[in-house]
């Protein structure tokens, strides 16, 4: 009986999908791009998956948590909707009205817990992570006591969005984050986070890296005609020294940003400064390369902005894991420079053959590439929400790994972690 309804819904969905012009790259509402630019197909290690449609490949059940975990927090501070950690809120909204949502948890492949851990903001707008572990722990206690699905797999078929600096380590300082490690209760769950660095405590195997949130309408409002010639060679706006937290230099960005400044401050090819121009987005569209160096954390919204504006990103962050790394071939699109090679950045860039540069620009011009980096409202096909679902779908079926536990088997230690985390929230 259930199978029949499933089949019918699948057929209906199949009809609906084929009714839309399939694989049409120009069906982008948020970004109207010039049709005539030749683009190249994007295929990563997972294949040509950017245009995959997750609908029908997985089912997600959204837990109904009391509003103190999500709505009330958002009501306290509306800035959470526009800062770079807003993905957790928008993902919740997307899943509530998405076709992959199911109201029947028995048939769900994945379970989503909507808890906004990155919404406790300082007056300046930066999120404080000190209560986040307790909040997460309290949410998990709630779902494990009200529904049987957490205990069934100890969270292995649950996913959480943790877009903060170091993901589920819940701290903005790297040493502290490493010291804390990933929250023990999340040990088996799938984490969807912006932080990604190889061989790092705060990135566990099987996590999905997503881009930070960048406001799509704001970026679209600043698009200029593609005819405008790209006359800036390298462009960067941001801090080189964080005088407040690291006055001597050397900690911030592992000294890489300071090295960029010291080596290239008088170089006419490098348009770098700490100013905040109003024409920031327009300038990026007039530049060939955009620097995306690490800061206190290796990721930044600059990557998203560079991709949207067609500026080749120069990623200076050792061992970084970029968003959707299995679906997007970042090596072909961006330029990776080791932190130790920063003094030779000009030589590295000018020795790239022009054909390679033109190819990178063509890959960047591909609309599905730009779409995959955005979180538009309302959601569109191929955007970051769908890429997350695609990533989750690729991890199915659960039977492969030992997801479901035998009755009585317990893996998680509910009292692990710093003592302060055990206090109720």
């Amino acid at each position: 009986m259930k199978m029949l309804t499933n089949i019918w819904t699948l057929i209906l969905l199949g009809f609906l999908c084929s009714a839309f012009p399939s694989m049409e790259p120009m069906r982008t509402g948020a970004l109207k791009l010039h049709r005539s630019q030749p683009t190249e197909r994007i295929s990563g290690s997972a294949g040509d998956v950017l245009d995959d449609d997750p609908v029908g490949r997985l089912k997600v059940f959204v837990y109904e948590l009391p509003s103190k975990y999500n709505k009330k927090i958002l009501q306290k501070d509306q800035r959470c909707l526009t800062h770079m950690f807003a993905a957790e809120i928008f993902m919740h909204r997307f899943l509530l009205s998405s076709a992959v949502r199911t109201l029947n948890p028995e048939e769900a492949d994945w379970f989503y817990t909507p808890v906004y851990t990155t919404c406790d903001l300082t007056p300046n707008g930066l999120p404080l992570p000190f209560k986040s572990p307790r909040m997460m722990r309290s949410a998990i206690q709630l779902i494990s006591s009200n529904w049987p699905y957490w205990n069934r797999s100890e969270g292995a078929d649950h996913f959480f969005l943790v877009p903060h600096d170091f993901g589920a380590c819940f701290h903005y300082q790297e040493e502290k984050a490493i010291e804390r490690g990933i929250l023990p209760l999340l040990q088996r769950a799938t984490l969807v986070q912006t932080f990604g660095q190889r061989n790092h405590v705060c990135l566990k195997d099987g996590s999905i890296t997503i881009p930070p949130y960048a406001p799509p309408q704001k970026m679209q409002a600043h698009l200029i005609h593609e005819k405008t010639p790209r006359s800036i060679f390298v462009y960067f706006r941001g801090l080189f020294y964080d005088v407040g937290n690291d006055p001597e230099g050397g900690y911030y960005a592992r000294g890489a940003r300071a090295a960029v400044w010291e080596n290239f401050k008088d170089n006419p090819l490098f348009d770098i400064s700490t100013e905040h121009p109003t024409t920031y987005y327009e300038d990026m569209q007039r530049a060939i390369f955009c620097l995306c160096p690490l800061g206190w954390a290796p990721w930044s919204p600059r990557l998203v902005e560079a991709v949207i504006f067609g500026c080749i990103p120069i990623i200076i962050a050792d061992d970084i894991v970029l968003p959707f790394a299995d679906a997007i071939p970042w090596e072909d699109i961006g330029v990776f420079v080791d932190e130790k090679d920063v003094p030779n950045l000009d030589t590295i860039l000018t020795s790239i053959p022009v054909e390679v540069i033109l190819r990178k620009q063509r890959l960047l011009a591909n609309p599905s590439m730009k779409q995959a980096m955005l979180f538009p409202q309302p959601a569109q096909s191929g955007d970051a929400f769908h890429q997350v679902l695609n990533g989750l779908a690729r991890k199915l079926p659960h039977g492969r790994s030992n997801v479901y536990l035998k009755p009585g088997q317990k893996i998680l230690n509910w009292t692990a972690g710093p003592v302060g985390d055990l206090k109720p929230w």
């Binding site: 300046n124 000190f130 010639p229 061992d319 860039l349 033109l358």
Partner: protein, 501 residues
């Protein structure tokens, strides 16, 4: 961390990475309050040690040594050895001690790193040139993708003649044409015959050009000038017809200003197009008042623009022309006049033609195009519209005339003004004639200077007159006196200026 005091000072500093209050101490609780005193003392010791050693000996070395538990991935605050000593510049380096770990050793370590600066952190000219070549190639690709798909050759027609301001005007036009990214043929028609001056000017551009002479001299009155220029342009059109040049004909007057968008927009023309021309009708006089008065009388608040007029569906319905009535009394008739130089109703510069319209045996020639031979003896061709039977076929360009991409201007020196030929001063000047007015407002009255040779600043010049000792001695006295006086003058002036300040 334990030393929350230091942390607090860091955290409380307002910066973009400001993280607010030391919430973590409250979160950790008051578990280790007695240890905090111990850590403070230790921190003081570390500060003393670092003062001695010269680099920062962080407290967290002790954390490393005394930490109770070790997580499996252990790399909290290792120090790093200065490996490439020649490359590191700052003194803030530290020794490295990687502790054994269970998992794969991460390449990236947390902690203080040196800021790498290469020995000569300045731009390398070879790299700069390579980068410019890359930029050029990328821009060419952009043009190929987003610019005009099949660009046609441009044929620029310029009437000119030798006069003081010719170099000024022609240099501007030349530079504009050199920047055009399309193929270009420059037809220069010179009144009074071909001269070496104009030839050398044009040759500097490196553009393909056809330089012909026209056997009349440029008259002195503006009305006659307009007529002669029209005749010269017709002559150029005949040349285009003979040579069967293929492209878009654009009338580039030497004193006009062209923007680069103009040349891109022109590529859209099919047969004959019209553009909006901004008229910078200015007054030749030193005082602007006559012009601005006339302006106010004419009740205009914007610069006048000549060009096509369209209705709401972007179809050509008429022309905006220059209304010269308000200015007629003050207009200049001759070049030297101190009046306003007025354009015609519709200037040639605002029109572009497809050169195939001029060909003799062009089978696809539209019916509305007259033959050029009909205009052989015509005295005054006001605008190319006379070449058409039906003026409604003109295509409005530049968003139907909304975009002004070129400006009309006529600026000429007095007809008797002299200038060195080719602007080369040869032979070098020997005598300078002092001007009657000095630039100093309070300069002393001029002394009789029959024998003395001085310039306007009141200092004597070295003069190439060897052997005139008598004169030189008196010059010497005069020079000293002048120096004194000029110094006094300078002192006076500076005093005056300070008083003003």
């Amino acid at each position: 961390m334990k030393l929350s005091a230091l942390h607090q000072s860091y955290l409380n500093r307002r910066s973009s990475n400001f993280r607010g209050l030391s919430g973590d101490s409250s979160a950790d609780g008051s578990m280790k309050s007695q240890a905090s005193v111990f850590w403070l003392v230790l921190h003081g010791l570390c500060c003393l040690v670092s003062l001695v050693l010269g680099f920062r000996f962080s407290r967290l070395v002790f954390f490393l040594l005394f930490s109770p538990s070790t997580t499996t991935n252990l790399y909290s605050m290792p120090f790093r050895q200065a490996v490439e000593a020649s490359v590191f510049q700052l003194s803030t380096e530290a020794a490295n001690q990687v502790l054994p770990v269970n998992t794969t050793t991460p390449r990236v370590v947390v902690g203080r790193h040196g800021i790498r600066i290469r020995p000569w952190p300045h731009p390398d000219p070879v790299e700069v040139m390579k980068a410019h070549r890359i930029i050029e190639r990328v821009q060419r690709e952009q043009r190929a993708q987003f610019g005009v798909k099949a660009p046609r050759t441009l044929i620029a027609v310029t009437p000119t003649y030798v006069r003081t301001f010719q170099t000024l005007h022609m240099t501007g036009v030349m530079h504009s044409l050199m920047l055009v990214p399309y193929d270009l043929v420059w037809i220069v028609v010179e009144a009074g015959g071909v001269t070496n001056e104009t030839t050398s000017l044009i040759a500097k551009s490196g553009l393909r050009n056809i330089h012909v002479g026209f056997n009349e001299r440029m008259p002195n009155s503006w009305a006659n000038r307009h007529r002669l220029e029209a005749k010269m342009r017709l002559h150029a059109l005949k040349i285009i017809r003979e040579e069967k040049l293929d492209g878009i004909v654009i009338f580039v007057d030497d004193s006009n200003m062209h923007s680069m968008e103009l040349f891109d927009e022109i590529q859209n023309v099919k047969w004959i197009g019209a553009l909006s021309v901004g008229i910078l009708a200015h007054s030749n006089s030193a005082e602007e008042s006559s012009f601005s008065l006339a302006w106010k009388e004419a009740d205009n608040s914007v610069i006048p623009v000549q060009g096509p007029a369209c209705n709401s569906s972007n179809r050509l319905i008429g022309w905006h022309t220059f209304n010269s009535l308000p200015f007629l009394e003050k207009s200049a008739t001759h070049i030297d006049d101190r009046g306003i130089i007025l354009p015609r109703k519709l200037e040639w510069a605002g029109f572009v033609l497809n050169s195939r319209l001029l060909w003799k045996d062009f089978t696809d020639k539209p019916m509305w195009m007259k033959d050029l031979d009909l205009f052989d003896g015509v005295d005054d061709m006001e605008s190319p519209l006379l070449l058409l039977n039906d003026a409604s076929v003109v295509e409005p360009l530049g968003r139907c005339g909304l975009q002004v991409m070129l400006w009309w201007l006529r600026v000429e020196a007095r007809s008797d003004s002299k200038f060195p030929p080719g602007w080369v001063i040869d032979p070098p000047l020997e005598i300078t004639v002092p001007s009657k007015h000095t630039p100093w407002p309070d300069a002393l009255p001029e002394l009789p200077m029959s024998d003395k040779i001085v310039d306007a600043q009141g200092e004597t010049l070295a003069v190439k007159r060897p052997g005139k000792t008598r004169r030189s001695r008196s010059k010497h006295d005069a020079r000293n006196k002048r120096k004194h006086e000029s110094r006094n003058a300078e002192v006076d002036i500076s005093e005056k200026q300070t008083k003003q300040n």
